[in-house]
Assembly symmetry: C2
Homo-oligomer: 311 residues x 2
């Protein structure tokens, strides 16, 4: 069967950090997602078109999908290029892996057009060049779940990328995206450079507990272990409504949660769909009262990451 | 069936910290173990006899088994006491949970004489009073595996004890116990009070990776994730031969390892019995060459902790 000349991929939103797992843990959502169509061209180079209203750069070196595809093309011996059409379903700056989705979706689409010659680890490595365009750092905590699906642990980025992809627990995620901006640079600037060893120990006890809870589907343990003692307290001041939204979601039955990535979105994990809707509504009500516009997303943790939806 | 009036328990050695998991992770060994016999008396109080040559205190408030049993007796409404005979199979000060074994074994024995009315969490809580006698701190990282067996994560001690007992990976442990003393107080004093956030993140990535590796039996991941970036570098100067012993054990095929507890013992995890013996011999050879006497222990991770061996 000849390889297709065109492919469309859905590339989903992701939750980075996941409570206590700053810079390390990630979860894949089913929605929202970016839709990315690639057409293979015999002439080299990339042509990028955005079919949305976010006015993102289309110069390949300044576009997250473009930078990821350029990294992929460096590993391809044959002469070829791509026409790329991107429809952002994930709002840029929402904190649910918008840039990672476009970068991950682009390399997954290109890989399909090339007979799936690259494995997930290679695709993650390429897509991280997109994150470098978006934030200046080649980080993988959104890219890994956007490509692998489920629940991922980025054990190391340097000297060798080490991503552990694990089966997703059967949980439902509630996300509120309040419509204000948290600059990634500012979110980084408020972090302490040193932390008390005693607090670091409590944090890694929670990371171990959260991984154990996910793998054994122990929802009560997940609830206890999600708490972030280091990063969330430092960032809380940048996120009006955070404490109140979490409190209301917990009262609605959520297991626990926290800032998604560096915000402004807040995620809560829930044992079932009904509780996830209740938690989302409870968080929305907080922002409604504050007069801050918001979007809600509710869905299960996705077992699959970016995927081809048609040739 | 009436309750027995006398019981004997084997209480095994344990590995606390387990590489990256300082103050949090623990593993149970099958040997060496302490042998503890309890006889129920109708008159209150404890009489402790040591059938070994370690000259440990026999005053109940200064004996680890005694302090643990006094905590247990505070929870028992009826008037009773115990005659306690302890044969230490685990050398005090070896760093493989000698005090934890005696404390854990004592409360497990007493519980058997009382119809097993206490659960593991209650027994851990009581046995921690023994650790307070030994080191001044009510810590659970050896007590938890000594009671639960397998692999344990102490997620929290305060405000509420939260111990996660998990199935043991099918690994073999090699331990070398070089015959010099590391004072727990000194081992605590060399720890940094603050750690760089970047290093703490690498450490909790490893804790997450190690827990995932244990639960999915991914031995290569376990090997990569064992490394301790924070505590072992600080303590290495107290442990002559550590770097060399680890290097030789790795060359012999061990997956990884580190200081057991606060030392002086060093543990290495191995995929099978033959490799564990090779790793133990390789570590022994290092101390042989240094003119330091040593003991070797090789065995699987125990699925069971302290256990009744006869009534």
């Amino acid at each position: 069967m000849p390889l297709p000349s065109s492919v469309t991929v859905h590339a989903p939103a992701t939750i980075a950090n996941v409570g206590c797992g700053f810079d390390v843990l990630g979860l894949c959502l089913t929605a929202p997602y970016d839709t990315i169509t690639l057409r293979r061209c015999e002439q080299p180079g990339l042509t990028i078109t955005h079919l949305d209203d976010y006015h993102l750069p289309t110069d390949p070196t300044h576009n997250v999908a473009g930078a990821a595809l350029l990294a992929l093309l460096r590993e391809v011996p044959e002469t070829l290029g791509f026409e790329v059409e991107i429809t952002k379903g994930i709002r840029p700056g929402s904190g649910i892996g918008s840039s990672a989705a476009s970068a991950a979706g682009a390399v997954v689409a290109a890989n399909a057009l090339l007979g799936n010659r690259f494995d997930n680890k290679q695709l993650i490595d390429m897509a991280m060049y997109g994150e470098a365009v978006a934030s200046g750092v080649r980080h993988a905590d959104n890219i890994a779940p956007a490509i692998c699906g489920g629940f991922t642990l980025v054990r190391a980025v340097q000297p060798v990328l080490d991503v552990v992809a694990l089966p997703a627990p059967a949980l439902w995620v509630a996300v509120v995206h309040p419509q204000f901006e948290v600059k990634t640079k500012e979110a980084r600037a408020v972090l302490p450079t040193q932390v008390p060893l005693s607090l670091a120990v409590r944090q890694w006890a929670n990371v171990g507990g959260l991984v154990a809870g996910f793998l054994t589907q122990d929802f009560e343990l997940i609830g206890r272990a999600l708490d972030d003692y280091i990063v969330e307290p430092a960032r809380a001041a940048l996120l009006p409504g955070l404490g109140d939204a979490k409190k209301r979601a917990l009262a609605a039955g959520a297991l626990g949660g926290g800032i998604s990535g560096s915000g402004p979105s807040i995620f809560m994990l829930n044992k079932d769909e009904a509780t996830a809707h209740a938690a989302a509504e409870a968080m929305g009500a907080v922002y409604q009262k504050m007069g801050i516009a918001f979007h809600l997303h509710v869905g299960p943790i996705a077992t699959q990451g970016a995927r081809v939806v048609n040739f």
